[in-house]
Amino acid sequence: MADSPQIKLDFRKSLGSFTLDINCTLAAKVSAFLGPSGSGKSTLLNCISGTLAPDDGEIVFGEEVLYASAAKINLSPEKRRFGYVFQEGHLFPHLTVAQNIRYGQPKPRKSSAAIDVLEIAEFLQRYPRELSGGQRQRVAIARALAMEPRMLLMDEPLASLDSALKARIIPYLHHVKDTFDIPILYITHAFSEAMALADEAFLIANGLIIANGEPYRLLTAPSAMPIAQLTGVENTLFLPVTASDKARGLTLLEIGNQSLVIPYTDIGIGEIAPVAVRAEDIIISLEPDISISARNILKGTIQYLDVKSEYTWLSILVEWHHLAVKVTHAARKQLQLQEGSEVYCVIKASAINLLWD
């Protein structure tokens, strides 16, 4: 993705008393816009897709100007060729799945990578009303990809799904990210989804971008706190199940070369378990060999340390997962924690919750 086109967004749009004022450049493979409802996320996406015209400013994709108020340029949605996945799917109810997918295809073709990646071949002949919510959303994603877009816009694609289904769709989104060589703009109010997918996240509140960076850093950024507090600062991990013991009430997950013990779940071995740990439920130790009742002692390195708020926020790299950890300033000073320090994260099994269950 070295020569992936950059997307420059610099525009304003007022709707009643609300004003969206965006100025940023998207360069990552997956960029997430993260914010509570009413923060202007959907307005932003509609302006990018061309279904809504900004009041002024410009939108540039690579070298191509899509919108420029000064030059009076405003490309219509069909000329922008951005695949758009809507929160409610918006499948055409009077068309079959196959017809929905064919709708945006530049040239009709029987097979399509989108159909394979989202595993929807078996219900091509059905109508949207005959599909479950999760299947509908997979078709919606496939339809947006089948048009061979230059970019994929996703507006809370998981928000209308019930909790258990979200965990099943996430792997498909990863598959899409790996298979299709196009930038993806993902909009969500859930930190967990941004953590799971995005390379860069933009926090948006009241129509303004208030912070941006890698999602795990934002999770511990003081400016993210008002938003993070809506859901709590939770670390979200998607880890494969390696073993399960119903009698002892434990399930084992693999986190790189280490293991994570969680309360028993009936998710099958080899399948992905989505789990969450709150930042304040992780204890930091400098040594691994301590007598303690907690089941998990994970080795990691402090990547990033933030002391600007009431607490010290640590971002600890465990294998390739970032864990946000909240400790007091006193504890940080006593343990002499700093960036690069090797530490052990102590987590009680019971403090790890299965996400969306």
């Binding site: 949605p77 922008r80 918006h90």
Partner: protein, 221 residues
Amino acid sequence: MRITAAEVAALSLSIKVALLSLIVTFPLGLLVGWLLAKRTFPGKAFLNTLVMLPLVLPPIISGYLLLILLGKHGFIGRFIYQTFGVEIVFSELSVVIAVSVISFPLLVRGIVTGMEAVPVELENAARTLGASPIKVFWTITLPMAHRGVIGGTILGFSKSLGEFGATIMVAGNIPGKTQTMALAIFSAVHLGEDVSVYRLVFISTVVAFAAIWLTERFTLR
């Protein structure tokens, strides 16, 4: 009980006029319905009022206004007469015009209701998938609005079959020329021809029933 030649003429005229009116008003109805349901433009309220007016006005008044407009000395009638040498009023054409004006609001109402129910989000989704506004109309808006469109068409067609007030004003009641079923029944009642009345009423009811039943059969899945 044998049907008379005059009755056959009235029946076939009614059907012919209703069909002709439908051919003329349907494309126009789609356009006006789409404009009213999906667009905002200056004068929209005026257009809506103009289209709906015949629904509220007594047909006699609509007919009278048409007579003024289309008569040999009327605004449109004079122009047509001077250009083509054709007199519109009291002709078969005037029946088609009268019936079209009266049935048009019903047709448009159905189309507007159907199209308003098509979520703009789906139309926008189609746009983002590369469809032009015209393609969106034919592939999304119209198919999804089909119930409203068909409903409006049935209502408009039925109205055309039975139109009376405006027709008698602009076209008169000339047997074999402008006498439709409704006018034939009116004459028969006046002349006390009870048997003829029963026959015509029966035929009218059967035709109306068949029209609606057939459409329902083809549209209800």
